[in-house]
Symmetry: C2
Subunit: 219 residues, 2 copies
DNA sequence: TGATAACCTGACTAAATGGTCAAATGTTTT
DNA sequence: AAAACATTTGACCATTTAGTCAGGTTATCA
């Protein structure tokens, strides 16, 4: 299905046809992300996605054929964003800056793309039946290099010995994603009001400070 | 439905009838917890629950009438366990002990009742349509007293000023529940092997230490 | 302009699903 | 023992759902 878009790069590109597909796929993808976030793969219906996208149901099937296929596209699309934030982790020498940047970036993603985080949460909670492959290849690889960075910092006494580096990583993931996945609970416990932009920035800083102190760094 | 069990406390209680109901309800509850954990309220089917419980589907409806009703029972049953761990938070004067105990208890629950944690995660991710009430009353109340404890510790300079006490609480919840909700991911990143009992104890201690340091306490 | 190919969608279908029910079986009480 | 009540379950039903398809519209390009 991806090669269709590539092939569409005709020369005398008269926009319309190409653009129609591009736009509709995006509209459907955005709608699907919301519905999958709320109901998971099994619970979501193509009708709900169609309604959310304000398109007839057949249109969804026309562009993505099956629900499972659409689901995969949604997950992949989110992963792209996640990886962008992740890839900078080992570009910093100092743990303080690396953590500050990475935690900050993950918090930002929780704010700007909460539905994506939820879709992945659902997928993993239900045993990653669809994305098993990706977890044990792409993610595993990234985590391994990340663990190496952390272990190096520990050896160089730049941070406290946290034992297993995974534990630290999980704390960062879990805490930052909590603000996306459990945003409804966060709202309720914030007296029923959504966090404002500036409140969120405040929490972001607090999370960064908590993480820094947890590895023995003074913020 | 609850009053049925109460009413069943006849005198010459000839066990069987009473026991049958007790046992079957438990069997169904356990099966339902697993299926709801994996697929959420909408995604789970009564057939799946019946198969998991090794009972005919009609039997599930006989005891719990509707799927939604069964779902509520499952959520409530989990909440009982959660609250037990939670209620001791303000019985400790020293933050070090309180945190050690609470984080430890939550980690234990993630190990012993991972499905329960997942069901709640699903419920909240999907906007808590069923348990809204409980969140904004029972949970809110507990959180408020908990926040007070933390704020007192801050005033007494027993811990570092973390800003908003909620942020600390979320970090504890998110990190401990990560080991239940994302157990599948944890397994994959542990080279495909489930954490052993002793490995888990190790992680538990690491999480406790991370949290303690994050509020400026030396473990 | 006309042929071709992509887009669009209402109407349809086969399968799955939550829930009902009546009849059968088992237990308790009088 | 037999009336009264609880449990069990296969058969059934109305509704929902993913996916199909035929026939229509619109864009592209020679």
């Amino acid at each position: 299905m991806g090669n269709v878009m590539v092939a569409a790069k005709a020369r005398n590109s008269s926009r319309s046809k190409e653009k129609i597909r591009e736009e509709n796929e995006l509209i459907i993808l955005i709608a699907a992300e919301k519905v999958f976030a709320k109901h998971g793969l099994k619970g979501a219906t193509t009708k709900q996605i169609a309604d959310m996208a304000k398109l007839p149901k057949s249109n969804i099937h026309y562009y993505f054929h099956t629900k499972l296929n659409l689901y995969r596209y949604v997950l992949e699309s989110i992963l792209v964003d996640w990886m962008k934030a992740a890839d900078t982790f080992d570009t910093f020498d100092e743990p303080r800056e690396a953590i500050r940047y990475y935690v900050g970036a993950k918090m930002d993603l929780s704010r700007t793309r909460p539905f994506g985080s939820k879709v992945w949460a659902n997928e993993i909670i239900s045993g990653a039946p669809v994305m098993e492959e990706i977890l044990s290849s792409r993610l595993k690889k990234w985590v391994d290099t990340c663990v190496n960075s952390i272990n190096t910092w520990i050896e160089l006494k730049k941070i406290v010995n946290v034992g297993d580096a995974h534990t630290l990583l999980y704390m960062i993931w879990a805490t930052t994603q909590h603000y996306a996945d459990f945003d409804y609970q966060v709202m309720i416990l914030n007296n029923g009001k959504k966090l404002t932009e500036s409140e969120f920035e405040e929490k972001k800083q607090q999370v960064i400070d908590l993480v820094l102190r947890s590895v023995g760094l003074n913020p």
